[in-house]
Point group: D2
């Protein structure tokens, strides 16, 4: 409910407001005695940090999670793990001047209605993209637990604007390829896509605009036979968490929307057996049949809308006075949040997949 | 969990196997004292019945739900409503000959793994599309409760194969338009789309093949300010239930994947106020900002894969013997399940929306 | 929520009204491939049937459960098991004359308020003791699954009025003793208690009155190390389900309320080890420390209030007219429901314990 | 699940270990815009602080909760409220010498089994009574929200050892009486009970022993018609949370176990109407019929076992070496935890009751 949900036997909670004391997460019901490498957690989280062209390490960032509980002697205790990430940026002196102005594409107005004008509006409050940091923290933990179970997941930028990366090979993608793409500053498979995408982003920035994109996410090594039909299948759980990332507006598994244009004879993945393994020759199902994994790579793509914060003046309303007005959003904003959303989507998948091992 | 979930304060459960005694649903925690018109429930369910060119009424169908509990004197009692739909088609004499053969695109193999070879495999068991009937039953109940609260939802066929219908006008779609499209045998907006889509389906049938499509769903009258950020927003709840429909492989809200190709200045919906109402000039957000409704029409589209059951021989495996083999699926199968999936998607939306009124 | 809850990974739902079409249960998320002996389920349920001095078999009773789903070839399929128990007694011709009269000790008035006067009041509706039949059905299933895991549970009448049975030996009670007490018509350990308790019940009946009692329940073979601290321990789960039985007004584990009068040196159970087993010399903890089983017998007692339906005239109100009045409850009522509540309490424990094996 | 549960629409989570960095709580889904007086929260929490004969203020204690989120401008934001309580006492130099020794009555052994020897054992870890501080924090918040809705709850010491206080008058107890008993250092109704109970505690301390007791808890002003039958009634919810307090071994509502010795004619609470109000002349039901409030005071009692930490040598085992041994528990321990458990029980009730207002 709200920002605390049960996902299978796992319970995850995200709390905090952008300009409050701190944000954080509680993840409960993970197994006890699992080793956690904190440096690796910080490394995962640093992939979400603001991108600069120089090297950026987690250590020097403010988004350093302090683990409060559930971790002892380098291992999970089996109790709830709570982590806190302090907020640095709590000055909000100039906030009041814009209170009541609905920034287009933001939740200022809907949050005001939902919380009876009592929500913390500073910096987007609980709706801020900053709240993905706790999600990434939990995903970074699950990454290590999944690895211990033979599962590797990774996400890459599938497209920014109309510029596309190469897709994962849905049949033959390997753990090595997944691990490699995670190390990249701009996580793309096709080296040429790197430059083209940077150009698209630069152009958007210069035009005081922003641009969206698509993220593709894949897991290899997830055992066949996990998931459930109807309401608790892999698609249901994954999408429930992925839509927990602000700016996500769509998700598709395997061939997804393209399957809707296909014939059954094209879309059906023929099974074959080789050395005792059962596999499919294509993977339009994205590794999921009837909500249950079939042993092929799990693949989905998710649409990220362009950053709603743009520097151009925009027509809007003051929802307090109910008057039409114009807003100019101050401050520096990412012209494209897709790169920073990549580890968020991967984290969401990690959490969903880990929930099946409990 | 599995086929029983909590969606907000609502609890919904779908049970049964295709060739067992019966299938059915339990929906718990609806308000007490709500009038239910049973004929209208049957009418809603008949939209899911196999399409024939003659008139088809629910009454003459086998999928007639018997309400067991929670309904008294024409009203909900506030206790769990259970309905049973008897299965007619329980002869499965020829089942054993195909046991172990993984029909491509079906959950035969994954179900076998998931349930340790103990699941009921006849006719797809719990994975059968037949299990959408209980979902539609629950959605038909929620339709009436929503109407009493001023909310109207409807779905139409957005596309079959590459043939497209006109979309709902995301800004100005009216309740009347929604109600009208529900009455159509083939629910499309553009009269010309009807013939074109029928052709696509006919061609697929003649080619012993099948074809997929996209369904668009819309709700008008849902109040602004409902939903939640992070894990329990409108997108999360709706997608969790929509993916409960077999064959769904993707979902997108508002502009969805198209938003990923847009600039922020194009995608942002500018607010304006008119006669005290706050509205947006475009509706790329699909009526949802930060997981919360903004008062504009709620709009999403969902991808339906082509029917996996096709009459052509297909390469596959016997997952018991682990040998490669060929399957020829007997019996008559819908060359396109999109028309019958329309009320299923609408039902899923109804359930999700009703959960916010509790 | 209401009559559908998640208990660990298990989901259980009880539906129906006393004079409606049927009552029933859905239990979801049990493991697949578990053998179920239906005769034994009926036998368990017959322990809850009205007690007569002649032999009473389930088969001849109306409370015969029809399994609708989740059961195939003698085994669980892993999908939700739904069972329906038809109601015979649907004539309610004389109901209207007493509508609005709050029978003391019954939920007529509170149900009326809770459900906005829309609940089905006939025969107590959803509040009827009849609704324990679905609970017992689910407990009877779990009994067999627990047995396959080495766990045996049983309940006996600890007291009726002031007449006490011998208690289970909290340290040395054996599976054989538990199994034996289940076979008894009046489930007591001390043969002399049988006659004394029958006298107490007879006296109550002759006095147009009723009498309450205490049920003691025990499980042997439940592994050490199961349960959780804080909110999801054995006491929490067991009590949540046991209070699902109408007429239960208290529960205590191990020494329970007596522990409150003890010194720490008396109440603490000293551990000792013998042949590699760790045991305690006393069992005031009822086999539970920190919400987790310690390997000793699990023991609790629960208080059953006297049947509120008594033949004497009682002062009460008409909650429609808000006038004082007198009620005389017609029909035959058990002067003591404790014997019939015994399998209900045992069923509740079975469900709670089984939830830890998922 | 584990230490995170949903209780109706409310989600509560308790995290932390006794000697870790901090302990804390997350409570999610409270309404937005509710005023919270922090001083009053600290005051409530100080009732749980170690009792000294001098004045003890929260401010000077270590158990000072820092609210991290969900609170802005003196009001709830509607988002999850997280609070952290730092642990001071993290020195655990002498821990290793006693590792593996099962202190009788403690969860050392069961926690070791449950968490695969990975739990944090220092000071009891997550099983420590210290973990009731986050519970009390959440209960202190709910107290204020309940008061705004006309509900007042309080608990007092019903007995310590064999010394009894006067009970609440189950029919006529007033809000004033409830508020008064909360202000007392030793919360008893009968002034003479104060001295007698102190004597019992002193004697236990001198004997290097401890003593248990019973706590009675009552709420006035809770509206009639709230709750649900079967699994989600007032008894179910309240007991689920109350058993979240370590050392609780029993709970009874209204007449409770005494009802089991009563006749129906004695136990049934006759209704009467006066000035349009419907009330009962007795209150053996504890204000609950069919899981639903009837408007009378809600009353329950709960058994607290004697502190398991006593200074005497006790026989026990080393569960690592599986050898019999003797333990002598070092440090100072409360000879009676009942007084400190009073606000914990009250907090549990507050949380349960508040969950019905969402």
């Amino acid at each position: 409910m709200s920002s605390t949900i049960s996902i299978g036997a796992l319970s995850v909670s995200v709390f905090g407001e952008s300009h409050g004391t701190a944000i954080g997460a509680v993840i409960d019901n993970l197994p006890a005695g699992e080793k956690l490498d904190l440096e690796r957690i910080y490394g995962f989280m640093s992939r979400r940090a603001p991108k600069k062209d120089g090297t950026s390490t987690m250590r020097s960032e403010t988004d350093f999670p302090e683990i409060i509980s559930g971790f002892y002697n380098g291992k999970t205790t089996g109790e709830a793990i709570c982590a806190i990430i302090k907020n640095k940026d709590q000055h909000s002196s100039d906030y009041k001047s814009i209170y009541g102005i609905a920034r287009p594409g933001h939740a200022d107005y809907t949050g005001f209605l939902r919380y009876n004008c009592a929500n913390d509006p500073r910096g987007g409050g609980h709706f801020s993209g900053r709240l993905t940091a706790p999600l990434v923290f939990m995903g970074a933990i699950c990454e290590q637990l999944l690895e211990a179970r033979g599962v590797t997941a990774a996400a890459h930028i599938y497209s920014i604007g109309k510029e596309k990366d190469l897709p994962f090979d849905p049949v033959n993608v390997s753990k090595e390829q997944l691990k490699e793409v995670k190390t990249k500053y701009l996580p793309v498979i096709d080296p040429e896509a790197d430059g083209k995408m940077r150009n698209v982003i630069d152009e958007a920035r210069k035009a005081l605009d922003s641009v969206g994109g698509v993220i593709e996410c894949c897991a290899v090594g997830f055992p066949a036979g996990m998931g459930s039909p109807i309401f608790d299948g892999l698609e249901n759980r994954i999408s429930q968490i992925v839509f927990g990332i602000p700016a996500i507006k769509g998700i598709e598994f395997g061939a997804g929307f393209e399957a809707a244009e296909m014939k059954g004879s094209e879309n059906n993945d023929e099974f074959y057996t080789e050395n005792g393994d059962i596999r499919t020759r294509t993977n339009n199902a994205g590794g999921i049949l009837g909500g249950i994994s079939n042993g092929m790579p799990l693949i989905f793509r998710t649409a990220v809308k362009p950053t709603p914060s743009i520097a151009r003046p925009q027509n809007t309303v003051n929802f307090i006075t109910k008057e039409n007005t114009i807003t100019e959003i101050k401050g520096r904003h990412d012209p494209c949040i897709v790169p920073r959303a990549v580890p968020c989507v991967e984290a969401a998948l990690n959490i969903a997949l880990m929930s099946y091992f409990l």
